[in-house]
Every structure is written in structure tokens, then in C-alpha cells.
Symmetry: C2
Subunit: 187 residues, 2 copies
DNA sequence: ATTATAATCGACACACAGTTGGGTAACAAC
DNA sequence: GTTGTTACCCAACTGTGTGTCGATTATAAT
């Protein structure tokens, strides 16, 4: 590994700005966050912000890609012996990761986020659902995906909003049951 | 009915502003919508806006309350012979209404909306779910509600986004099946 | 036709957005 | 340690939206 490492000052400044954005996004929508507010919290000069990012969306974008890469690396380290495409086991791993990065996850999964990682999740779900329902009408499958993913995401949002009170494994089971077997299975 | 009717000019101006907001909210989040943009589209003087509303959120709020009142009146006109608390029949009626007010519904249900009627829907769901699951752990029930409502809302969003291609009754059945019996019931 | 008032217009101070040029200090490399 | 580089800060400037106000014009109600 050569020294393609960026200047320590740059890394520090970017980390400050990332933290500031995550902090602000706990309470505000990305479109309502000003460059000034960001720089005030990060204690960074406004010119410095523009030296690295074009606007807060740009910053958010970079954070998002970074997080996805991290999650991917994290999941690669686990090895799953699953028959199901989306097992309680895998989901629990993901929830572990989310819990460990709660503030960040909250920001990226909340309705305060625009591009919402949810687009990326959708692609993932595409692969999964094709395995489960090879012979279902396309339109219906799209709706099923939409329903399942957004249902799960909003369960996650609630969980994060309230400080992840339940253990990840419990929530994973609940989500799987809801997705696969519906409300009535709880009666 | 006395003449507690407001000045025709006022009604006209407010209608223009409501339409402008709905139009902008097809593509932008409420927090990104400026008073100027609103007035440009409505072709109304900016001072006039402030004469009626404190900010775009205020306008959105008033629209929301109005729509809920209309929906309520609409549903009262139908009479349902339902055993289920949320039947395909009732849901179809609601979807009919939504389809008839597509642009408006799209604005209010989308992620571009902040207070999201979804809070009101949650209260409604509270009543329904208490009837179905009288003896379920509170926490679990909260998650079930969250899952079902947001799953359904996102199905609606997709439906509206794509121009309500399916007939309301079909979508109503799909949603009920997903909520009550889950993905596996489609296999 | 008269009166009341809604809407417009122009102007104001203020705040945030982007951009620029110059000075300072921290960095990497040798 | 010295040196060349560059990230950061600071101050200034233009542009654009905000919220308010008083004067003027247009229009609804009677």
C-alpha cells in the first residue's frame, strides 16, 4: 500500500463534517440543512466545506457509499449456512451492525434522508425475491417487495428512534414472521 | 347556512396556493419549498401569502386537515356491512377516493410530506388492531402496526407514482393479503 | 355608487449561498 | 531540520430568498 493516503488534516475535517451531518439529520431533513449550520457544528470554515463538497447532498452521498461498503465488508466476514435467501441469522447480523452504528443508521434510514439507502436495499431484495417467487406476475412481485422492504425499514426506524430496546435477534424474528406470514400469524 | 362564506378573492387566492404547493410537492420535499417559488407558480404576491399563512408548513397543514375532513365525509356516505375491521370493501372505497384525488394524495402520502397524514392513519390503525389482537404484547403490536401501515403506504406511493394502473379493488385485495397473510401466501 | 377590504407594489434589513484572493500553519518528503 | 506543498482560515463581495410595512389599486359586498 503506497502513500495514497490523504492528508491527515483532510481526513480530520471530513470526519468533523460527517459527524455534523449525522447529528443534524437526527432531527432535520437533509433538504433543510444549511452549509452554515453544518460548519458551525463541525467548527470548520465555510470555504473549507466547499473545498470538499458541492453541497450537503454531496456529503450525504459520500457517507452513504462509505457505509454500504462497510456493511458489505462486515457481512462478508460472517459466513452463513442458510437455505433461505433472507434468514433470521443474516438479518440478525445486519441488525447487530445497525445497532453498533445507531446514530448513522438512524440518519440514513430515516425519512430525513433523501436517496435513502432504500434504493440499494431494493436491488438486494430484487435478487432475494426472484429466488422465492420465480413464477409470480412481475407487477405483483414489485408490490410485494415494496411492501416488505418499507414495512421492515419502518420497523427499524421505530427501533432506532426508541434506542434499540429489543435485542437484534428478537427483532429479526419478528420481521421475518411479519414479512413471510403476516399479521394473522400472530393471533 | 349564513354568509359566513369568505370573500371570493380569498377563496381563489388560497386555491391557487394550494394547487401550487401540491404541484411542487410532486417533486420536492416540503422543507425545500420556498415561499417565492410557491407565489411564482400561483402568480400571487408574496405579501399575500404571508397574509394567509405563516410559512409553507402552515399551508400544508391546512390542506391536510381539509383532506382528512373530506375523506371522512366521503366514507360516511358509504355504508359498510363488514365483520372485519379493515375489509377489502372499505379499503377499496379509500383507494377510490385516493385515485380521484391523485395529485393531492401523492403529495400528502409521499416522503416529500413531513407530518405525513401517516400520524393520523396510525391512530386509526390503533383502533383496528386492538380489535384484532386484544391479547398481544403491546410492544409487538406496535411493531406490527408500524410494519403494516408503512408497507401499505409505500404500496400506495408506488401505485400513485406510476399513475394508478391497477383498479382499486385489485390493489385493496393485494394489500389485505400482504398484511394479514404475508409474502409466503403468494407462493 | 359607496364602502370595506383583499391584493399588489416597492422598499427595507437580514440571513444564507457560493466564490475569491491573501495570509498562516500544518503536513509530507527528503 | 529544511523545504515545498497545501489545507485551512479570514474577509469581502454578489446574489437570492425572507419576513415586514405603508401606500396604492382592484374588487367584492351591499
Amino acid at each position: 500500500m503506497q502513500t495514497d493516503r490523504v492528508d491527515r488534516r483532510v481526513r480530520y475535517t471530513k470526519a468533523l463534517l460527517r459527524d455534523a451531518l449525522v447529528e443534524l439529520m437526527q432531527t432535520q431533513h437533509i433538504s433543510a440543512i444549511s452549509v452554515k449550520a453544518l460548519c458551525d457544528i463541525a467548527d470548520v470554515n465555510r470555504s473549507t466545506f466547499y473545498a470538499h463538497y458541492s453541497d450537503p447532498y454531496d456529503l450525504l452521498n459520500q457517507i452513504e457509499r462509505e457505509v454500504l461498503a462497510n456493511l458489505k465488508r462486515y457481512l462478508d466476514r460472517q459466513d452463513f449456512n442458510s437455505s433461505e435467501p433472507l434468514s433470521v441469522q443474516i438479518l440478525t447480523s445486519i441488525l447487530d451492525y445497525i445497532k453498533e452504528n445507531a446514530a448513522l443508521s438512524k440518519a440514513l434510514l430515516s425519512e430525513n434522508c433523501d436517496f435513502a439507502i432504500q434504493k440499494d436495499i431494493m436491488e438486494l431484495a430484487q435478487i432475494i425475491s426472484e429466488q422465492i417467487y420465480p413464477k409470480l406476475d412481475i407487477r405483483t412481485m414489485e408490490y410485494i417487495k415494496e411492501f416488505g422492504i418499507n414495512g421492515c425499514v419502518s420497523v427499524l426506524q421505530k427501533w432506532l428512534r426508541e434506542g434499540t430496546p429489543e435485542p437484534p435477534a428478537l427483532l429479526a424474528e419478528l420481521m421475518i414472521q411479519l414479512m413471510y406470514f403476516g399479521m394473522k400469524s400472530f393471533q
